[in-house]
Symmetry: D2
Subunit: 369 residues, 4 copies
C-alpha cells in the first residue's frame, strides 16, 4: 500500500514527481457515456497554475493535459481514463543543495527514513506538483457531479490575519483574484499583506473552505465510512493541511447543546434544518443541507532565510533555500480541495446506489419476474 490510490468505486491512481518526465492519473470506474475532452480537465489544471500574479512563483508550468485512454468518440467508455501532463520547464540543477540536507518543514527527512533514499529534485513525489493528478481526476468528478445536480466550490477564507467577508459572497472573484477569495476587497488587502511577508523573507498560513451544494440526503455510510470521515481524510491528505473541520468545527467545543442543535422544520413539504451548525452531515450521512468543510494550511516551509538543520550524514548545518516559492500555499491549494471533495462525494453517491432493496429491485426490474 504505497498510498497513491484513492476511492472505492470511482478510483484514481496518481503518479509522477516534481522533476520527472511527466505526472498523471488513471481513473478506473468512471461511468460510461460521459462527454469528455481535454478542455474539461485543462480548466481545472489552469487554476493550480502559478505565475498568474506576483504572489505566486513565476515558474512557467504549461501543464497541458493529454487523454491517453478511456475516451472514444468524445465519450467515456467505462474503462480506465489515463491522463498525462508532461513536465516541461523543470531544471534539475536548481536543487543540488537539498540533496544533502533536510529542509525544515518538508518531507526530505521522513522520505529518507522510510525509503533509505529519495528523489531530491524539487521534493520529488512530496512536491506540490503531485496534486496535478488529483486535480485532473477531480475535474472529471466535478463534471459528473454537476450532471447530478451537485456543485462543489472551494475558496480562500483567510490568509494570515486577512479574512474574506463571506456575507457578500462573490463566486466569480474566486476564479479571478490571485488569492482565490470570494471577496475582492479582502483579496486586495491580502495581496498587500503578502507583499510585506515576502519583504520579510517569510511566509504565512491560511484557511480554505469548500461548499457542496445540491447533494441529496442519505449519502455516506455509518461508523468508519462516514462522509465527514472520508472528507477529513481526503482534505488532510493535501500537503500542508494541519486541521480539517465540518460545519462549525472547533468552535463546537465551547458551545451549548441548545445553541448547537439544528432544529428540523417542514418548508414547502420538505424537511429542512433551521440552521446548519452540523455542516450538512449527521451521523456521517448527508442531511440534504449544504456540506461545509474547512481546512487550515501551514505557512510555506521554504523561506529565504538561513535555517538550522542537519545533513544526510548527520551533521548540524545551515541551509539557505533557493528557487522560487509562493509566500502562501492556500490560493493554489483551493482547487485541490475542491477536487478532493468532489472525488469523495461522487464515490459516496455511487456506493449509495445499493443501499436499499427497493433500489436493486427497481434497477433489475425483477419484482415482475
Amino acid at each position: 500500500m504505497a498510498g497513491s490510490i484513492y476511492g472505492t468505486v470511482f478510483r484514481i491512481t496518481t503518479w509522477g514527481e516534481s522533476h520527472g518526465k511527466a505526472l498523471g492519473v488513471v481513473i478506473d470506474g468512471c461511468p460510461a457515456g460521459l462527454e469528455l475532452e481535454e478542455g474539461d480537465i485543462q480548466l481545472y489544471l489552469d487554476r493550480r497554475k502559478p505565475g498568474v500574479t506576483r504572489i505566486a512563483t513565476p515558474r512557467k508550468e504549461a501543464d497541458a493535459v493529454e487523454i491517453m485512454s478511456g475516451v472514444f468518440e468524445g465519450r467515456t467508455t467505462g474503462t480506465p481514463i489515463s491522463l498525462m501532463v508532461r513536465n516541461t520547464s523543470q531544471i534539475s540543477g536548481d536543487y543540488s543543495e537539498i540533496a544533502s540536507c533536510y529542509r525544515p518543514g518538508h518531507a526530505d527527512y521522513t522520505f529518507d527514513r522510510k525509503y533509505g533514499f529519495r528523489d531530491y529534485r524539487g521534493g520529488g513525489r512530496s512536491s506540490g506538483r503531485e496534486t496535478v493528478g488529483r486535480v485532473a481526476a477531480g475535474a472529471i468528478a466535478c463534471k459528473i457531479l454537476k450532471k447530478l445536480g451537485v456543485t462543489v466550490c472551494a475558496y480562500t477564507r483567510s490568509i494570515g490575519p486577512v479574512e474574506a467577508d463571506l456575507s457578500e459572497f462573490d463566486r466569480q472573484a474566486i476564479l479571478e483574484t490571485p488569492t482565490a477569495m470570494p471577496d475582492r476587497k479582502a483579496d486586495a488587502a491580502a495581496v498587500a499583506y503578502l507583499e510585506s511577508v515576502r519583504r520579510d523573507t517569510d511566509s504565512v498560513g491560511g484557511c480554505m473552505e469548500c461548499l457542496v451544494e445540491g447533494i441529496p440526503s442519505g449519502i455516506g455510510d455509518p461508523v468508519f465510512e462516514k462522509l465527514d470521515a472520508n472528507l477529513a481524510k481526503a482534505i488532510m491528505s493535501i500537503g500542508a493541511v494541519k486541521a480539517v473541520e465540518i460545519g462549525d468545527g472547533h468552535e463546537v467545543s465551547e458551545r451549548r447543546g441548545s445553541e448547537n442543535n439544528d432544529g428540523f422544520r417542514m418548508e414547502e413539504e420538505k424537511t429542512v434544518k433551521a440552521s446548519n451548525h452540523a455542516g450538512g452531515i449527521l451521523g456521517g450521512i448527508s442531511d440534504g443541507d449544504s456540506i461545509v468543510v474547512r481546512a487550515y494550511v501551514k505557512p510555506t516551509p521554504s523561506i529565504f532565510r538561513t535555517q538550522q538543520t542537519v545533513s544526510g550524514s548527520g551533521e548540524n548545518v545551515e541551509i539557505n533555500i533557493k528557487g522560487r516559492h509562493d509566500p502562501v500555499i492556500v490560493p493554489r491549494a483551493v482547487v485541490v480541495m475542491e477536487c478532493m471533495t468532489a472525488l469523495t462525494v461522487l464515490d459516496s453517491m455511487m456506493l449509495n446506489l445499493s443501499a436499499r432493496m427497493t433500489y436493486l429491485t427497481s434497477f433489475y426490474g425483477s419484482e415482475s419476474k
Copy 2:
C-alpha cells in the same frame, strides 16, 4: 460498502446496535503469538463505561467481553478474533417517542433517508454504544503497540470553557477523574461546571487530544495514505467529532513560516526537531517525534428541553427527549480516540514492513541464495 470495516492489514469489522442482543467486533489480521485474555480487553471497555460519577449517565452497562475465536492456549493464532459483549440492561420501552420523529443533532433523519426506515431503539447503530467494538479491537492494537515500544494516550483537554493545564501532566488522573483530564484541579472545575450545565437542562462540547509516543520515523505513506490523513479519518469517524487537528492544528493559519518550521538538529547522534509544531508528521510520514492529534466534540444533542422538529410523516412537532444522557460526550470518547489512533498507527506500522527491498531480502534471507 456499508462502512463497518476498518484497516488494511489489521482489519476490524464491528457490529451491533444500542438495543440489540449484543455488540461485537471481528479482528482479522492480528499477528499470531500474542498473549491475550479477556482481561486485556475489559480494561479498555471499562474506561468507556458510564455511571462512574454523577456527570455520566447512571445506566448500568456491565459490558463483559467474551473471546469467541482466534485465541488458543492463551495466544492469538493469526486467525480472526471474535469479541462479543452482550447487551444486558436495555429496555426497549424507553424509546417509543423517537420512533416517530427526528431528534435534532442525531442521525435519526439521515438514517431514514438512507435506508427507508431505522432501528429507532436508542439510536440503533448510530448510538454511542457502537464504539464498544472499536474499543475492544483497539485494546488489542494498544497491547501490540506497547510490545513495539509505542504508547498511545488520549485525554480530555477541555470541557466547555474549562481547560486542563498540560504543563503538569498527571497521567494517572486521566484514568481516575470523571472527566479523563490529566489535571485534577481542572477536573474539579469541570465537574462543577457540568453540574451547572445540567441544572440548565443543557449540554456542552469539549476537546480531547491523543499522544503517540515512541513511534519510529518512516511510518505512513505519501499522497492519499498519509498517516495524518488516516488519523483524521479515524478520529472524524467517532460520533460528534467536528474537527481534527495534527500538531498545532488550526493555529498554523495565522502563523509565519519562520515561527512554524521545526528546525532539525543532532542530539546524541540522533536527528531531532527543535520544536514539534508539526505534531510528529512531515509529508504524511512520522518523523520520530511524538504524534499529537486533537479532536473537537460537539455538545450532547440529547437535552432535556422542548425542541422543534418534524415527524416521520412530515409534520412540525415538538420533542421532549427522555432517558439518561451525559451533559458532555468527551470523557467517554477519550478511550475511543485512543483506540482509533492505535488501530491506525498499528496498521501503518504493519504496512511499512515492505517499504524497502532490504527489508524483504533480509526477511527472506535470499541474498545468499
Copy 3:
C-alpha cells in the same frame, strides 16, 4: 490481510474454529429492507449438516443460527448483520494425536509454518466447519438474488467414477439425496460405491457444478475483476477444490474455434447464443445466458490407514487418524459452492449499478435540475 473478509460492497467477515465456542459471520453492506429471519439461513446451514446418511460422518452438529444484529422488525436495516452458530458437540479430547504431527493432505504443516503454532483441535480454522460462516452469509445473498430474478443452483456431478446424468435434471433430488446429485439413479450407484471405498479404508474425490440462471447481461468488469475470475477465486477458496472451470472448461484446449464459438442470433427480439460453450461469460462479463461453473474436489485427506509423516519436532513418524470422516467431500461442499457463487454474483450486480452515466442520472433524477 488475514483472509477472512470477502466481497467489495456486499462484504462478509467470517470467524471461528472447528472446536471453539462458536462460528459466525458479519455481513456488511446488505441492502436495507429485506425481510429476514433465522429460518431463511437455517435452511442452507441444514444442507451442510452431516449425519443425514451413512456416507456422512455421524457427528451431531445442530448448527442453529442466531441473528445477533442488523435486523429490526423482521427486516434488514442496512447495518451489519451478525450471525452466530454455537459449537455444541465438540469434544476436544478427540484430537490429541494431531497436535504433535502433520496429517498428510491437511493444512497442519502449513499453518505451523505460517503462524509458528496452531489450534490443532479438529483442524481449527482450516477445518471444513469454517464454511458455516460462508453458508450463513450466502443464504442471504441467495435470497436477495431470487428477488432479482436470479437463481443459483449447485449439485454433485460425479463421485469417483460415478457420474450424474444431467440430461434428465432432477432438481429436487439435489436436496433429497445423500450425494446431492440431480439424478437418483446415479445417487444410488454413488452411495454403493462409497460403501466400498469406506470398506477399503479409503476416500475418493468428485466434481460439483453450479448454474446461475436469470442473470442479466452486463454483469462483471473487464481485466482483473472479470466475473469468471472472481468466481474462480470464490470457488478455489473452498477447501479441497483443486480445479475450477467456466463453461466447457479444460475441454476447450483441444477444441477448434469453429466448434467452440457460440454464434449469436435473434430470438423473439432478444439476442441469444446458439450454444453456451462459453458458460455465460464473455470477456469477463455475463452475456445473459446461464453461467456454468465447475469444481473438482480432492478425496478426503483423512483416511483410516497408517500414513507416513513427520512430527512437529522433526522426526519421521506414522500417523493413524481417528475420528469420523466422510469418504467424500463433495456432497457437503455443494451448498458452499452455491453460496460462494451467490456472494460473488450479487457483489458484481451491486457494483454494476454505477456502470453508466444514464444509471446515475436516472437514479439521482438530475437531468431536470
Copy 4:
C-alpha cells in the same frame, strides 16, 4: 470498481486500448531500492510480441516501454512507477465492420450491454493488447522475486492434441521456440499442426502451465485469501482462459485419498513431501514445494470463416472477420501467465511479513525497550 486495479500491497493499475494512443501501468507499492531500467521490462514485453514466426500474426508492434516515474538514479524510490508503451502501428480503418455487429466468442456484445457502447477498434480494452500493462508490471515482480530466491516459469503444455513431453524439460526452448514449449520436438509438431489449422481457416485451443520454485512455506492466507484462490483469479482473469488448476487439478476427482495424499518425511533436516499432487499449496498456504498452476485456453475466436451473428441494431447477419489473427492464443499468453503468477506470489509474500508477533518485534526491535 471498474476492474483494472490488482493487488493488495503491490498494486498495479493498467490502462489502454488496442487502438488508443498508448497502453500502460502504474505500480504502487514497489519497495524502494530495486535497481530498475527499461531493459528489465522490455525483456518480458518482447516475449509477448507477435511476428516472431509464422504462427503468430505478422503485425509489427515494437512495444518499447518508457519509465515515466518512480525510478531515480537507477533505483526505485518507493513511489508509483508509471510505465508506458505507445501504440505505433495501429490503423483504425481495419475494424470498421465489427463496429456494427458482434463477433462470436468476443466481448463485443457484453461490453455493449454493460456500457451502452464500446470502442470497437480492435476490441478496445478487451483486446489481448490489454496485457501489455500486466506484463510490464509482472517483469518487475519477477525481478524482485528472483532477489528473494523465487523463480516463476510458465510454458506451453499443449496445443490442440500436441503435448510437450515434460520429462526432459528444456527451459531454454520456452524462450526460443515459437510455441513457448519446453520441448523442441513437440514444438515442431505443434507448428506443423498449426499450419494445417490455419489452412482450415480455423483456430485451436491449448494448455499452459506455470511453476513457482524456491517459494518458502507459509505464504498465503486462510479462507478467502488462499494462495491458490488468488492464483485462480489472477490466471482466470487472462482473456480466453476457461479453466485453472492447482497441482493435479481436475484429475483428483477420480483419485483415491490413499493415492492423492502427499506423505511428509524428513530429508536433510528439512520437512519435504514424498510427492506433490497438491501442487505446493495446502489449506491455501505454500508448503515449500514447487507451486504448479495450469490453465486451459480456448481457441482464438477470430476465424476466417463466415459466422452467424447479430448486429447492434438487432438483425441476424453474417460476419467475415478480417485482419491478422494467431491460430492459437497460448504461446503469447505464456508470459502473461508468468507475470500474473509473479504479481500474486509477491503480494502474498509482502503481506506475510506481519503474520507473527515475533516478526514485528524483531523488525521494530522493541523487546529491549
